[in-house]
């Protein structure tokens, strides 16, 4: 132990070792998606975060994985994560009960450019669970409403039952200077909203090129078409920001799994201005 502590005294924090967190609340969003609130399990507070950053969450006896922070950045007492159960580890994570202890590392990665977006309209385009890392940005904008122009949220999910934060979305839609539209791939009889891919919503939105910053997160194929639409409408590549996903093991730029061209997604991303990665985006099997 002494050696690592000596290294830490030299200013080298050991970013590989998690802190203990306690699950405070688990909320069911959809059949497979849950939102967990995590509080510090010791006197040490959890580190604050910037909208768009992620943590490495650890389930004792199972393993660790990167999860975007989906809560309000202003709320300092706890960190909130929205997790879709797709594999063994996410299944275990969403089945934590209040009081359970987990490991938390981070936050890591780049964040949405909310400072640079001041004074402009903010367009948020999300696909499925991709809304989770965008929600902190929405919280921030709503909290600093006068700093930004219009807030436009376009959200696509597979079906009405797969829409997360549904009540909040309805609240946001009622706010002045906000336009919030949701669409689903399959509607069903009870759905009276839009049906189709998220790019189909652009026809309802008036965008001001040079005066709009777009924050985009969803499947890569969705983001590719969204970017294509936005470029067609005259938005500047430097104003388009996307959040990418890759396999991650260490979260701090060493282990190599999240490489994307010359970038390590965990430290150089996950959020990139589109013009910085344009030459790799959409390349097969990069």
């Amino acid at each position: 132990m002494a050696v690592i502590e000596a290294e830490q005294e030299r200013g080298l924090a050991n970013a590989m070792v998690p802190a203990l967190g306690r699950v405070a609340q688990v909320k069911k969003e959809t059949s497979d998606t849950f939102t967990l609130a995590v509080e510090p399990a010791s006197a040490e507070p959890l580190a604050g975060f910037q909208p768009g950053q992620f943590s490495m969450l650890y389930v004792f006896g199972a393993g660790e994985l990167p999860i975007s922070i989906s809560g309000d950045p202003q709320e300092r007492s706890r960190l909130v994560y929205t997790v879709r159960s797709v594999g063994k580890l996410t299944q275990l994570l969403v089945s934590r009960k209040p009081g359970d202890v987990i490991g938390v590392r981070g936050p890591y990665g780049t964040h949405w450019p909310l400072k640079a977006a001041r004074g402009k309209d903010v367009l948020i385009v999300a696909g499925g669970i991709g809304l989770a890392p965008l929600r902190p940005a929405i919280y921030h904008i709503l909290r600093h409403r006068a700093d930004y122009g219009r807030l436009i949220v376009l959200y696509g999910a597979r079906s009405p039952r797969d829409l997360i934060y549904r009540r909040q979305i309805e609240e946001w839609a009622r706010l002045p200077d906000a336009q919030v539209l949701a669409t689903v791939d399959y509607g069903g009889v009870a759905w009276h909203g839009h049906v189709g891919v998220v790019t189909g919503l652009f026809r309802y939105v008036r965008l001001q090129p040079f005066h709009t910053v777009a924050l985009i997160c969803g499947p890569e194929i969705m983001m590719r078409y969204v970017i294509w639409e936005l470029e067609t409408r005259g938005l500047q590549p430097g104003d388009l920001h996307i959040s990418l996903e890759r396999n991650m093991k260490c979260g701090i730029g060493f282990c190599g799994h999240c490489q994307y061209g010359p970038n390590f997604l965990c430290k150089d991303g996950p959020i990139f201005p589109y013009h910085e990665i344009r030459s790799w985006f959409g390349k097969y099997e990069l």
Binding site: M1, A2, V3, I4, E5, A6, E7, Q8, L12, A13, N14, A15, M16, V17, P18, A19, L20, A41, S42, F60, G61, A62, G63, E64, L65, V86, G87, K88, L89, T90, V101, G103, E245, R246, N247, K249, C250, I252, G253, F254, C255, G256, H257, Q259, G261, P262, K267, K283, Y284, E285, L286
Partner: protein, 344 residues
């Protein structure tokens, strides 16, 4: 930099002094090949060797390293076992030291790796001159010479080793050995320069790395990657023996019947099918052709973008380790379209 010389017969004497500074490891012969190993006696050391099976990377980033232990009720305790072990690596070639200098940059970037850094601080490096064999192309990769990263470096100048003192610790070792080191004179310098000049002629392999990243960009869709993917066995040998491959996997060992355990990192390879696999089942680099292409691109293209040079140092280990004879020099030559393979 202090430059001295040591009469070759006195190397044994110097080695006995060096032992006082830590545990001496050096290349040792094993089944006709060489491995870096703890010496039982100095006479085991083979300072004239071609290359070790594994590079000295294994001392700085061990094949398996425990990072911390944990217990759900108590939290996480970093593991420091072996980090303060003072080890002396005697007889490291320039390309391997160059590779360690590259790893230094990787593990002290936006974040620091305290495990790597602690080991690096406690490992003494004594470099030694070498002559290239049929797999060496370090000169092409600009790694045939190092100006830092060692405590001492010995150049063979015939009857003597010319010693470059790289650090204060290297100087301490020289001072601790009394007066066995001698000052160099003009004739020694001339001798060194002549040998250095002649060494360049000894290389049998050459690759041109100027504009190689651009050529890689142009050849992204080349059929060569499919062809290599068809041959590659995904065994990962090239990554294991590479002095600059640093990818690792992270996994926990959990005690039976409890949720306590430890976390370890182990060497990984981008050639393994699971390297880019995520929980949804999507594999960002599924086909073998994509994976081998990726390995070449990170070495020769991506690393240049981030660190200004390829991470390959031209040690030739991947060429000799590959069971299906995939040869990085040939791949680069083919990408460049240079058909003249007469020298090979």
């Amino acid at each position: 930099m202090k430059i001295l010389k040591l009469r070759k017969e006195k190397l044994d004497l110097f080695a006995s002094v060096v032992q006082q500074f830590g545990e001496v490891h050096a290349p040792v012969e094993q089944d006709g090949k060489y491995v870096f190993k703890r010496l039982r006696r100095w006479s085991e050391a083979r300072l004239e060797y071609d290359r070790t099976i594994l590079p000295p990377k294994k001392y700085f980033l061990p094949p398996r390293e425990t990072l911390f232990r944990y217990r759900p009720g108590e939290g996480f305790a970093p593991c420091s076992e072996g980090l303060d072990q003072r080890t002396i690596l005697f007889g490291v070639h320039a390309c391997d030291i160059y590779a360690i200098n590259i790893l230094d940059r990787v593990f002290a970037g936006k974040y620091n790796d305290p495990y790597y850094q602690a080991r690096r601080r406690n490992i003494v490096i004594i470099g030694i001159d070498c002559s290239p064999d049929q797999h060496c192309f370090c000169r092409s990769m600009r790694a045939d010479f190092v100006d830092h990263g060692f405590d001492l470096f010995f150049y063979d100048t015939g009857d003597y080793y010319q010693a470059l003192v790289g650090t204060a610790l290297g100087d301490d070792m020289v001072l601790a050995s009394g007066s066995i080191f001698e000052a160099v004179d003009a004739a020694d310098i001339d001798n060194y320069k002549r040998r250095s000049w002649n060494k360049r002629r000894a290389f049998q392999l050459e690759v041109e790395i100027r504009d190689l990243p651009e050529i890689f960009e142009m050849e992204y869709q080349s059929g060569i990657w499919e062809e290599l993917g068809g041959r590659c066995l995904s065994c990962g040998s090239c990554s294991m023996v590479c002095p600059t491959c640093y990818c690792f996997d992270v996994a926990d060992d959990v005690e039976l019947g409890s949720l306590a355990g430890s976390r370890a990192r182990t060497w990984d390879s981008c050639l393994f099918a699971s390297h880019a696999l995520v929980a949804s089942g999507e594999n960002f680099r599924g086909p073998r052709a994509s994976r081998i292409k990726f390995r070449f691109y990170h070495k020769q293209r991506g690393f240049v973008a981030e660190y200004g040079r390829p991470s390959c140092v031209g040690c030739g280990r991947c060429i000799s380790a590959c069971p299906v004879n995939i040869d990085v020099v040939q791949v680069i030559e083919r990408l460049r379209g240079v058909q003249d393979a007469g020298s090979r």
